[in-house]
């Protein structure tokens, strides 16, 4: 009865929106929490609207918000999140990765979110495709040009274009350009945006795109085209591939992203937990943060929903096969000597969306519409520069640190 008296914690999250994941979040991951939680997953648009509206109206219902790093900037710039430095200090013993803790400060002096869980993007291939790998290529050390050749081989053999990317409206293609292509080819995302290296990168990618299934521009998640066999080799967020791996673990292999001239660029995905200003049940929210960052809960999260821990802990051996495959690929991606991790954008605030748009548009104009690469890069560089100047965001890794707004050379 005492438990029932407790006010519940309203926990709104942009993660775990797929219906099965939400079910598992409620029924398994949150099962052992002592308080009551109402977990409501939401798309990022209504999510943002809701937090902003509640803050503006001065009547907050939500006590805890969970989102990706990129979901928070508009909330912070509207001043609707409350710093959680105190919570962070309670969680000293968690052994958070310092990079993540730092990202949680959003380029300010305060901790705005507590790291919650992480993921990244990897590649998955149908085993039938392996026989067409270019001579001497190994999936674990694949280069971009080998990927192109692979695609060419596949098309020659099957008559179909079997590479795939999530370039649909809800797909994460822009992360591929920001965090994989650009770093691999230029060791930068912003400053060398229109460099000659970037030019070369785009022309090579364009060549590769000939072997990409044109329906890619409608794919949001790659697991379905993989399962349907419309695509044999694909890149996507691990959470958006997991279903395929779990359903047919024997049909697929998972492996790291390809390698470019500067190494293997890759980008982690970080989700965090934050507390809105005026949260009706801050104590409950803090307790829930404490619960979700416990090592055993972090592992349950991985097992159930495929997101990796943000604290240093050892993975158990009995992971589901799909998760295991993903974990292995991630490990190979992060630990190889060519690893070139890039950070999520820092300090862009509400302009994060427009930053993404620069990359999406560049992709669409060069690859899909076949516009002249130079002209497009110059034009979009101007947009990128404007975003940077408006936000005065300094460069973040892998771009070299800058004084003042990150320059677009």
């Amino acid at each position: 009865a005492v438990v029932a008296q407790q006010p519940s914690v309203l926990f709104v999250s942009t993660q775990f929106t797929p219906i099965e994941e939400a079910q598992r979040m409620r029924q398994v991951i949150l099962k052992d929490f002592s308080g009551r939680v109402e977990f409501i997953p939401e798309d990022n648009a209504p999510f943002t609207n809701r937090i902003l509206s509640e803050a503006r109206a001065g009547k907050v219902n939500v006590s805890l918000v969970g989102g990706l790093h990129g979901d928070f900037p508009p909330l912070i710039s509207a001043g609707s999140l409350e710093p959680v430095d105190d919570v962070m200090s309670q969680l000293k013993d968690r052994k958070f990765s310092p990079t993540f803790v730092n990202l949680g400060k959003m380029g300010t002096g305060n901790q705005y979110y507590i790291p919650w869980m992480q993921a990244t993007y990897i590649m998955v291939a149908n085993k039938q495709a392996l026989q067409y790998l270019p001579a001497g290529a190994n999936v674990n050390t694949l280069t971009y040009s080998q990927l192109r050749e692979w695609g060419a081989n596949l098309q020659k053999a099957t008559g179909k274009r079997l590479l795939g990317f999530p370039a649909g409206p809800r797909g994460l293609m822009h992360r591929f350009t920001q965090g994989y292509l650009y770093p691999s080819y230029t060791k930068s995302a912003v400053s060398k945006f229109r460099s000659d290296e970037a030019h070369r990168m785009w022309s090579e990618f364009k060549a590769l795109w000939q072997y990409v299934n044109p329906q890619s521009t409608t794919y949001d998640f790659m697991q379905e085209p993989l399962l349907a066999g419309e695509v044999w080799v694909a890149w996507d967020h691990i959470a958006r591939l997991r279903d395929g791996l779990n359903q047919k673990p024997n049909d697929f292999v998972a492996f790291p992203a390809p390698i470019g001239p500067y190494g293997r660029g890759f980008m982690p995905v970080l989700a965090g937990l934050a507390i809105p200003k005026g949260a009706p049940n801050r104590a409950g929210a803090v307790a829930l943060i404490e619960y979700l960052t416990r090592p055993e809960v972090q592992l349950t999260t991985l097992v159930e929903n495929g997101f990796f821990p943000v604290i240093q802990t050892k993975l158990p051996d009995n992971l589901p096969q799909g998760t295991r495959m993903g974990a292995d690929a991630i490990a190979r991606q992060a630990q190889s000597n060519v690893a070139l991790p890039s950070l999520l954008p820092v300090g862009l605030g509400a302009k994060g969306g427009e930053y993404n748009k620069v990359f999406q548009d560049t992709f669409a104009r060069i690859i899909l519409r076949g516009e002249d690469i130079r002209r497009v890069l110059d034009a979009e560089a101007a947009n990128l520069r404007r975003v940077m100047n408006d936000t005065k965001a300094p460069c973040w890794s892998p771009d070299p640190a800058s004084n003042g707004p990150c320059p677009v050379n």
Partner: protein
């Protein structure tokens, strides 16, 4: 009874108050968004950004094209259905029911339904393979086949939204006394001319409503387009949505909305002009 003159105002008052509260006020805020910069000053910046955007021209083009193709198609189809219904003696109820089913289907669901047909491994390809037209699946929904994609969107929208036109027209048709049709028949009108000269003009008020309604909604198509073609077929409402949500730029989104509003107003005025109702002529 001079006092009669206030009656219409009393009748519309509740709806006016209601809309002022629920619509006008948020609308003004939204409109302000489109003409104010981040610092609160008046600006056309959002409109400029909209106009110079990569997808803007296509969005305008496809939205208008979709409207121009879809709306007449739906109206004609609905008219045919409504007239057919008059010619069916038995099973009228059944057809009425079946034809109105799509009324209850959301654009979300319609998108999913037609995706299952047009997707690479969908029913269309399965069917074509079964009848031997193709061996391997063909792609219908990619950026390389804009015409086919356009047709798919049209098919889905026609499938989904013809029913409402149909229902409005059937309701209107029932109010036309049958003696007008009989008189026309006696005076030598073929069914075809009877339809044009008598039924259609008498149906004008309903037709006008249906047309305006469908046009405005067609200018806002979005969910079905995105479900079938992603952004390969950009449309205005979709762009507004992307700017608002993905790019977090309410100003430009509001500019798109203002544009949609403008086109809708223009279209509506044109309809009202072209199809002035008899009531006005009579009074």
């Amino acid at each position: 009874m001079r006092s009669e003159r206030y009656i219409p105002y009393v009748l519309i008052l509740p709806s006016v108050l209601f809309l002022l509260f629920l619509f006008a006020w948020p609308l003004v805020e939204a409109l302000l968004l489109s003409v104010r910069g981040g610092d609160g000053r008046w600006t056309l910046e959002h409109f400029q950004r909209m106009a110079s955007d990569l997808y803007f021209k296509d969005a305008v083009k496809y939205t208008v094209l979709l409207t121009v193709v879809m709306v007449p198609l739906q109206v004609v189809l609905a008219l045919c259905m409504a007239m057919l219904l008059g010619g069916i003696k038995r099973g009228r109820d059944l057809f009425l029911y079946v034809w109105t089913i799509p009324l209850g289907i959301s654009d979300l669901a319609a998108g999913i339904v037609w995706l299952s047909i047009f997707t690479e491994r969908g029913y269309l390809n399965s069917f074509l393979q079964a009848v031997g037209v193709i061996q391997e699946p063909r792609l219908w929904l990619s950026y390389e086949t804009p015409a086919m994609l356009f047709l798919a969107v049209v098919a889905a929208e026609v499938w989904r939204a013809t029913a409402i036109v149909f229902v409005i027209l059937v309701a209107g048709l029932q109010l036309i006394p049958k003696e007008y049709g009989e008189a026309a028949e006696v005076f030598g009108a073929t069914p075809w001319r009877r339809f044009w000269r008598v039924t259609l003009p008498l149906l004008m008020p309903s037709l006008q409503v249906a047309l305006i309604l469908r046009t405005i909604l067609a200018l806002e198509v979005f969910a079905v387009v995105v479900a079938l073609g992603g952004r390969n077929l950009p449309v205005l409402a979709g762009e507004a949505y992307f700017w608002y949500n993905a790019y977090q730029s309410p100003g430009v989104a509001a500019a798109y909305s203002v544009l949609i509003l403008g086109i809708s107003v223009a279209a509506t005025l044109v309809y009202l002009r072209l199809m002035r109702s008899r009531q006005e002529a009579a009074a």
